[in-house]
């Protein structure tokens, strides 16, 4: 672009403002999709200025997405400055800048050569593994992205922070077909090695095998075992119940069930395996890991739930200022503490039938009530007659209560935004309807 971060930072340093931050992201993205290969190059620049206007704090943002031929940094800063005067909210103290986190989020194997070549190579591997497993791809979309990011921010006492980093990301979306059946694959990773395409495809083919003999899931109450692909469906999955509760603004206004220092659910602290969950935006190869946030706020690991007791909440600049605490970058990737038993033991029908859910079709979670409603795509019932595959059926219940009392496997994996147990078992509270 004609304008760049340095020009804007020079201009921002001349202004009398409460605080400011600037970010530039240079993005190179390659896509391989069926008969298409594509490269996108983009530069995105954003600045934010905070003004103390007596009647409150004014915040003005400017984001430049693409090149429109401007090189007038002063005019861009003026625009943010003027807008801050139009949009004024209650005042809050500016937190001090804090050191960036050290994170590993750039895969060196993705950094050389055009990204569409890398995407084509990954798509080729996907096609080979799928064909070998007997379920060739019907459609596949692979995107490889690398970014160079720079953030400069200034807060109280004119203390300035400058951080730069590089990051990579891969997204794979595919449909594998075998005969008249198909199954979807969706995986996101920071590095190629974490895609684990061969093992994921083996799991999908096993699920296709199950679907060949599956019967409709009988309605009823079960002990439910959710595998990682199910409990972390679409990113946070059922753990969204905790993420939604740990919203600083909702907690501050007393609108959340989550009360720091109190159990997240009745008996949450006294069950056999109390739940411990942290947000870790510094996790190596975490999808949401970063040294700092886009506003220069520090990213930190913090405990959300400690042995069943609600602890931390996500704090952006504003909420941290109001709480007179250090910002933590908000809730990012989750780390769920392991349990004591093996995943194989969790599916044993000890007191009644166990419904094992391998994957879901969809999941809806209502944060204010914690109600989770999810459709079973592939599963199995374990009872005295053995194991039989099932499909369909809608699972419902209070996700917060269910997670608070869940048994967790000792084996860990990373699925979506959750680094946690490969399976969890919920003995009561979930019901299956047709």
């Amino acid at each position: 672009v004609t304008i760049n971060l340095d020009m804007l930072v020079r201009e921002l340093r001349r202004r009398d403002v409460l605080a400011w931050s600037a970010i530039q992201r240079t993005i190179h993205r390659g896509v391989a999709r069926d008969d298409l290969r594509r490269i996108d190059d983009a530069v995105r620049i954003g600045i934010v200025v905070h003004r103390d206007l007596g009647r409150g704090r004014g915040i003005g943002d400017v984001e430049l997405d693409g090149d429109h031929g401007t090189d007038d940094a002063a005019a861009v800063v003026d625009e943010a400055f003027d807008r801050a005067a139009q949009v004024v909210g209650p005042p809050w103290p500016t937190p001090a800048p804090a050191a960036p986190a050290r994170v590993e989020i750039e895969d060196a194997s993705l950094t050389s050569g055009p990204a569409d070549d890398i995407a084509m190579r990954i798509r080729g591997e996907l096609a080979r593994h799928a064909a070998t497993a007997g379920a060739p791809i019907a459609t596949a979309d692979v995107a490889v992205e690398r970014q160079a990011a720079r953030v400069v921010s200034r807060g109280i006492a004119d203390r300035e922070l400058a951080v730069q980093w590089r990051e990579t990301a891969i997204a794979v979306r595919a449909t594998l077909a075998r005969g008249a059946r198909s199954i979807d694959l969706a995986v996101d990773a920071r590095r190629a090695g974490d895609l684990a395409l061969a093992s994921r495809i083996r799991q999908l083919v096993a699920q296709l095998d199950d679907l060949d003999s599956a019967v409709a899931t009988p309605p009823g109450r079960y002990a439910v075992v959710l595998h990682a692909a199910a409990h972390s469906h679409g990113g946070f999955g059922v753990w969204q119940a905790i993420v939604g509760e740990a919203d600083a603004a909702r907690v501050r206004q007393g609108l959340a069930r989550y009360k720091p220092g109190k159990p997240i659910a009745p008996d949450a602290a006294t069950v056999a395996e109390p739940l411990t969950v942290s947000s870790d935006g510094t996790l190596a190869w975490g999808l949401r890991s970063a040294p700092v946030g886009d506003r220069g706020e520090p990213v930190r690991k913090f405990v959300l739930v400690d042995r069943g007791i609600a602890r931390g909440v996500g704090l952006d600049m504003r909420e941290a200022g109001l709480a007179r605490a250090e910002p933590n970058g908000g809730v990012r990737d989750l780390v769920v503490e392991r349990g004591r038993v093996g995943a194989d033991e969790l599916v044993r029908p000890t007191t009644g039938p166990v419904l094992e859910v391998s994957r879901l079709s969809w999941l809806d979670l209502d944060p204010p009530t914690g109600l989770v409603v999810a459709r079973i795509a592939v599963g199995a019932i374990h009872d005295e007659r053995g194991r039989r595959a099932v499909t369909g059926g809608t699972l419902r219940g209070d996700a917060l209560m269910a997670l608070a009392s869940a048994q967790r496997s000792r084996e860990l994996t990373t699925e979506g935004l959750v680094h946690g147990p490969v399976a969890i078992r919920i003995d009561s509270g979930l019901v299956v309807t047709s």
């Binding site: 999709r33 594509r38 190059d41 915040i59 003005g60 693409g66 909702r250 309807t433």
Partner: protein, 482 residues
């Protein structure tokens, strides 16, 4: 982006501004006026196509310059978005049939030249290409230039809307918000024999109110969307009263009885059903699934014979256009004709008009019935009006649809009984729901849907639908049935 679930997720915590992208109560994505003109862009694209035609069997150039203005107000304050996006994508097909695209945010002569250089295999002058007569399609309904309206005016417009919402709310309302959203995109497409330019202006306006009923929030919302603007999109007093009713009406204790029932679906519910259950299933990409239920029903009856749905991407519609993002003129196509399912749609729609193309139905029209909604409900002996749709989920393999709705109001002998149950679920397969339709209203509503947070990832679509009466499984959302 204005998903009511998101608003619900942080009711009372400024979710509306966050949903609008107004982080921290501020404004974002502002840009200086662009110096480029349509003639400039067309010249750059024609030159690019001519040069690339020396190396490739097929070449097309596509570009967009777009702006977005959104303003919102809620308990935390006011916010304003001014977003600007520019991009250019060159598409070539080599002799083997492989498609290669190069795209950039640099919509400048140098930016286009760099993309050409990355694709060229030979040197020398470009081929002699006939582009035909340049065409600039008529812009629909620009009453005032949105970009020329100052921030203060946009903020005053949401203040005025908020004042109207305040007038219909009570002290029970714990959260309220109002928003206005305008997209303004100029799109160019140049290829041998084609040189087109279109400007698409799309506007939406909406309000939301939240109260607490027991331990769960009750949400009332209303929104409208239209092509053109900025003025045509407006909320009537009746719309605001409908939103207030949704938030304020008292809920009957106990859960809705579970089981098969006659249901009257309001237009927002019908639109989400048609969007997720039909439009999303009737694209050429969706049909690559061998087990897609819709594919197995092609040419077969899936609905009552009174049901006809048509893809109608007229530029007078919020989701319509003069030409799609592959440069093909928009054309009507039947999706369901007198109850029979027809062929999928392949119209190319790109994220933000320049991203990767995916097929999409820009606007879907569901043919209306012959009686008013009042007469329609008057004919229901015993049933439920389903209102306040929050989410619609569809399993593409079984074609089973699950509608999560805020409330069900009972009707007996054509009249409301006053019973209102919160948090209900309507389910069934799409063919079962459509096959059981016994009536549709003569009046219709247009529902506008905008996906994406900014402009680069935005996708627009709309549906015009009537009220319908059908049979489905009804159950409390928390369980107890179907």
């Amino acid at each position: 982006v204005h998903d009511r679930r998101e608003i619900l997720a942080a009711a009372g915590a400024s979710a509306l501004l966050a949903a609008l992208g107004c982080r921290g109560g501020g404004a974002k994505r502002v840009e200086r006026p662009t110096p480029i003109t349509g003639e400039d862009v067309r010249a750059w694209l024609r030159r690019a196509v001519a040069e690339l035609m020396t190396d490739y069997a097929s070449v097309a150039a596509h570009a967009v310059s777009s702006r977005r203005i959104a303003a919102g107000i809620d308990l935390r304050g006011r916010g304003l978005v001014r977003d600007r996006h520019a991009a250019v994508a060159l598409r070539v097909v080599d002799r083997s049939g492989a498609i290669v695209e190069r795209a950039s945010g640099e919509l400048t002569p140098d930016g286009v030249a760099k993309l050409v250089a990355s694709l060229r295999r030979s040197h020398g002058p470009g081929a002699a290409v006939r582009f035909g007569t340049p065409a600039r399609d008529r812009t629909i309904g620009v009453d005032r230039e949105p970009e020329g309206i100052p921030d203060s005016t946009w903020l005053r417009m949401v203040d005025d809307l908020d004042a109207r919402v305040a007038a219909v709310s009570t002290s029970r309302v714990v959260y309220r918000g109002a928003w206005i959203d305008r997209d303004d995109a100029t799109v160019w497409h140049v290829a041998p024999g084609v040189d087109r330019e279109q400007r698409l202006i799309r506007g939406r306006i909406g309000v939301v109110m939240v109260t607490w009923s027991g331990n769960h929030p009750m949400i009332g919302a209303a929104d409208r969307g239209t092509a053109g603007g900025p003025d045509p999109a407006a909320l009537s007093d009746a719309d605001l009263e409908h939103a207030a009713r949704g938030a304020l009406e008292l809920v009957t204790p106990g859960a809705v009885p579970a089981g098969p029932a006659v249901v009257v679906l309001t237009p927002p519910v019908v639109a989400r059903l048609a969007d997720a259950g039909l439009a999303a299933m009737m694209t050429s990409t969706a049909w690559t699934r061998p087990d897609l239920a819709a594919r197995a029903h092609a040419g077969k009856a899936i609905a009552a014979t009174s049901v006809t749905m048509t893809a109608d991407p007229s530029p007078t519609r919020y989701g319509g256009y003069h030409f799609d993002d592959g440069g093909v003129a928009g054309a009507r196509a039947p999706i369901v004709e007198a109850g029979v399912l027809r062929a999928p749609i392949a119209a190319a729609v790109r994220d933000g008009h320049a991203g990767v193309a995916r097929p999409q139905i820009g606007h879907l029209t569901w043919s209306p019935g012959t009686i008013s909604e009042t007469a329609l409900m008057g004919g229901v002996a015993d049933g439920w009006v389903i209102d306040g749709v929050r989410a619609v989920r569809v399993d593409p393999v079984t074609w089973r649809v699950t509608i999560d709705a805020a409330r069900a109001r009972r009707i007996h002998k054509g009249n409301p009984t006053g019973h209102v149950h919160a948090d209900v679920e309507v389910s069934g397969t799409v063919p079962a729901l459509l096959g059981a339709i016994t009536g549709a209203s003569s009046n219709t509503d247009v529902i506008a849907i905008r996906d994406g947070d900014g402009l680069a990832d935005a996708r627009w679509r709309s549906l015009e639908v009537p009220w319908i009466v059908t049979r489905a499984d009804l159950a409390p959302r928390a369980g107890g049935g179907g």
